[in-house]
Amino acid sequence: MYPQHSALPKASKGLHLRLQFLVSILVVAGMLLLGIWMSPSIGYRAVALLMLMAVSILAILFDILPVLLAAILSAITWNFFLIPPRYTFSIQNSEDLFLFLMYFFVAMVNAVLTYKIKDRNKKISDREEKEKTIRLYNTILNSLSHELRTPISTIIGAVDVMKEQNGRLSPANKDELLHEIGKASLRLNQHVENLLGLSRLESGMVQLKLDWIDINEFVHRMINKFSDPKPPQRITFLPGQNLPLFKLDAVLMEQVLVNLIQNAIIYTPDKTEIRISTDYIDEKCTIVISDNGPGFPFSALVTAFDKFYRVSQTNSSGTGLGLSIVKGFVEAQKGTIQLSHNDTGGAKFLIELPAETSFIQNLKNE
């Protein structure tokens, strides 16, 4: 579950490095031209300081190798073009020789020192990153073990009662216990789905499998997953009329809708009404899921999608993974999701997905 740092940055760094070499050479060449142009007025020795400045700036920005190249190149070219006798590598004056060697030395030390400082900073930030990952990992484990233990305890407890107290239980009690076992198992199943979803998102392995979806039929099917003989909340679906087929990823959409409906059921009191509607607005597949429950606190409207976010006062537990996965899967399909309050103050999720469409009327019959 640790985020993978290595693979991608390396590839881009290879390209980066080549660019850095190129820029270093160009900067040296530019400074040299500037130096040749200015040397009649400021003298060729001052040009060395100009070039040293350029190398120092490069050292702050670039990797060590391009900087060393710039240092060597600038020293050699300065000697060749500017130290008399000009256009030779030879140096006659001992003062110039000393200056040349000093230039070479300072430029090198400059490059190496700057590199070392940058390296140390990088190590520190790497360590911080790693510590952050470990903290994140521990948070996952803590919330997960709690979250998994609750349904597991329910199942173990209910099974134990049925085994030990079998004779004393009324048929209604038994039914209720079985119902609880079923609910707990489905909850466990959903946790596993979310964990798989999280690992897909974290590894950057979300590959879209787009196919045509009849969104109204799809939403009905998702709602039917929550069919309950005595539903605590009422789910109302307002299907949009004359919607086209949308090209979306059915597996991701299923997890998006199941998580949002599940959330609405878990975090709202009984008798809450959950409304789902679909539409086609601005060339986007639009899905709204809202309820007339207590809603999210204002401070939470943005942070709700963060990993492991949970509304603090709620007594129901949760892994805090559901909404972050919802957002990840919506964005994987280039869509957006917004959380706001509706007229009653309840939560309102607006999903907009820019998807390819196909209107039934557009196809000829045969």
């Binding site: 199943n189 789905e193 798989l196 499998k209 009849d214 039917n224 597996v251 019959n365």
Partner: protein, 230 residues
Amino acid sequence: MNKPEILVIDDEPQIQKLLSIILESNGYKVIKATSALEGTSLAASLQPDLILLDIGLPDKNGIALLRDLKQWYPNPILMLSVISNEEDIVSALDFGADDYITKPFRSGELLARIRTAIRRKSKTVASTKVVFGNITIDFEARTVILNGINIKLTATEYNLLSLFIRNEGKVLTHSYLLREIWGAGYQAETQYLRVFVAQLRKKLEFNPDQPKHILTESGVGYRFVTDSES
């Protein structure tokens, strides 16, 4: 009549036990195999009426085993799979699996799949008239009657509907349907299929958004049932 025999090839003891309880209490005889090797030899020696085959086996990929079994085993094979594994399911169906069921499964669903598969195997005479719910289809006259009213279907819609009815209860993959109705070369045009299914639903289903007959199997295909409660 003897009890139908079902060979269950699955390496997980809990699933084996659960399946045995469901199947035996519904009048089937269960034979257990926990590996591909054992399953193959039991299938050869006992010739069961149906095989329930898990896609993930320890010694061999369930799909590879399915391909081997299909060479000589004549009876239906149902695949057991975990959910979100549509690609494997589709390829198993393409290699001749009769149907599939995902874990966690519901017993009613499992039994319905098994009944359908065994019934399809024994059914030989195709009737010329089929009635389901308030819909009657006459294959000789090529007419479809809904609530006593003749429904006009285009040729493609009619072909699709009769293909569904001939395969009642069985899942049909997108590529199979496209190949059968539109011919080779149209396997990727799932859009056609969606459109015609949507049109058929509009004409036949009481509520096209909540179909009772032409059911969507997400990522896999469609399943036509005469009674979606079973």
